[in-house]
Symmetry: C2
Amino acid sequence: MPNLEKEGFEMMKDMKIFEGSVTSAKGFMAASCAAGIKYKDRTDMAMIFSEAPCTAAGTFTKNIVKAAPVKWDQDVVYESPSASAVVINAGIANACTGAEGLKNCKMTASAAAKALNIEENAVLVASTGVIGMQLPIDRIEAGTKVMAGQLCGSEEAGLNAAKAIMTTDTIPKHIAVTVEIGGVPVTIGGMCKGSGMIHPNMCTMLCFITTDAAITKELLQQALSEDIEDTFNMVSVDGDTSTNDTVLLLANGLAKNPVIDQKDENYELFKAALHQVNTYLCRKIAGDGEGATALFEVKIVGAADKQQAVTLAKSVVTSSLTKAAIFGHDANWGRILCAMGYSGAEFDPEKVDLYFESAAGKIKIIEDGVATGYSEDEATKILSENEVTAIADIKMGDAAATAWGCDLTYDYVKINADYRS
Amino acid sequence: MPNLEKEGFEMMKDMKIFEGSVTSAKGFMAASCAAGIKYKDRTDMAMIFSEAPCTAAGTFTKNIVKAAPVKWDQDVVYESPSASAVVINAGIANACTGAEGLKNCKMTASAAAKALNIEENAVLVASTGVIGMQLPIDRIEAGTKVMAGQLCGSEEAGLNAAKAIMTTDTIPKHIAVTVEIGGVPVTIGGMCKGSGMIHPNMCTMLCFITTDAAITKELLQQALSEDIEDTFNMVSVDGDTSTNDTVLLLANGLAKNPVIDQKDENYELFKAALHQVNTYLCRKIAGDGEGATALFEVKIVGAADKQQAVTLAKSVVTSSLTKAAIFGHDANWGRILCAMGYSGAEFDPEKVDLYFESAAGKIKIIEDGVATGYSEDEATKILSENEVTAIADIKMGDAAATAWGCDLTYDYVKINADYRS
């Protein structure tokens, strides 16, 4: 097991953090299979199933070009009494596929419902991959049936599901947290995928979180909606907000904790645990951005208010010139100040202090808007780590925000110059 | 002389378009020199001078981090009775340089004023290059003095000035237009530089336009401000709005045309000629974007209003994923639809028709939001030209907009991973 603390994962007391996944919470199972959607010699479908019906929450892309599965899931999350299963495929996004695309969502849900003996409107679906192609629905249906017969609650089944949903991702992304709520251990586990077309505006790519917490639908949705503002909405790989962005959170109540039905201490505990899961997954997505060699973290501190900090942090983390400089281990602070300047947020450039920080140390680069006379060698050393942080203090107040992205590399261009072939 | 019409330059009757520059209009001279600012073995300073005092107009970056020369020029354009000279250097941007940076602008203007026997507040200055370094003011002053003694009205002097202001540009960018106004030939000539950090929000990088037209200051500024909305503000190489963006327009009246002092036919003629100059220079900037192999033009037609068309066109032209696909000659229309979808403009994705067009032909890729079953081979052939256009018809009205950018390539990353060394 890796040292999670070292990976930027803030440890909180009374919380157990482990390399779990969507099967870690009680009553959740997973399966995966090689359905031959687009890839050869690898799994490309996954299924999550809860033995008890779940309260469902979700956040979805704000792109007005919404993939068919997004539309389907919005109906399930907003209208269905409960959800029990998620069927996911990688390779084809089922976006820009018109009426046939929506029909394919329904057929997928129907196949799962039949195999699992649940209602069709209790099945969520998710797709990721190429836009504009229709799903090979026969293979999707066959894969769904196979997976329904192989569901398993093991850690391995969860890990395999995290692998099956990858596209250009280079590593599977999953985590779990256990926290005591009302004297009872409650687990939240999650997996996600995402590497390109990552610039969430509401939430990013595909993320599936399961918990055995007992919590009302209203508070489940609220906890998710609030937390993604500080997590998934602060990640950007390339500034492109996908058509398929989806975060689903399923709670089946099997932990038997006192139901969380008001914004009390228990709700805060649940939210803190959820925040740990989301933060971990976000950092994994950013660090595994297409072609990335480094996770690039941008912290704005001393802001007058949260929105100002968010605007500035996102502008820096999406700046192509800054991202290319990070790839080159070049302390090109002018580009950071420039990106702050065009963000739309008001601040005084002549009051800004800027630092670079990584495992190799911390260095003050500019003070009150001008260079400190820092050592370029030391700066380059700090910027040569695979996780680097830029911290800008704008000295206007106490608000702060953190955004995550990655460097811009030759491989990003290579991957995206001919993704479809 | 190249075929300007073939280069996307729309010919208008009664207008003569030629490979001129800032010296083409009557009474304007230029000079350049190798001042050793940052580069070796090349010229890196240029001067423009008018033998008669000029009415000056300008548009400047909206980045709140404004380089010192931008602040200096705003004072000259807004407060001085007239302007006679511009001193430009490449290599160092004089941005984020605090009080010393502003003092260096004043010292540059003072050196030019002394050498040219004009007022200090009649001298405009402009810098481009690395942010955060101070100018070597002794070399700037020496270069200024040298250039003042070498001013010349020849085409060659203008071309050499266009070369001297280049940074990562691969070609000098210059053009001139002559149009008859009130029975008198009036000339507008311009040069510009710009290759990276190009995402103008008000105007882009450095552009200098000279004209012998007689026109009031108010209308000169209005013509410029209006036209850049359709030209410089529609160019994006990398989404980064520079700290130094400046367009200066100097009119010395030596054509002796009836003074343009109202919005009549003569004003429209002047504006049409100015538009030709600006459009040509914008296309040159986009096509010569850092690392670019192709000019990427995005036309939105059938929009409900201009702002909607502008928002959509800019979103597509700045999408990293779309730009990488253009580099790969990949007809990845899903990314274009996706970028339209997250632009913030409202439209119906299921009504969109999309075409690709180049010298190799025109092809309809999607109709009413779904693929037409076009030939990938033909699409690739069209996308393999060095100027490609995407045209999206959103069928909501008659408004349209055009944006210019370029593909995203390995070389963009290479150039920007270590620009400073």
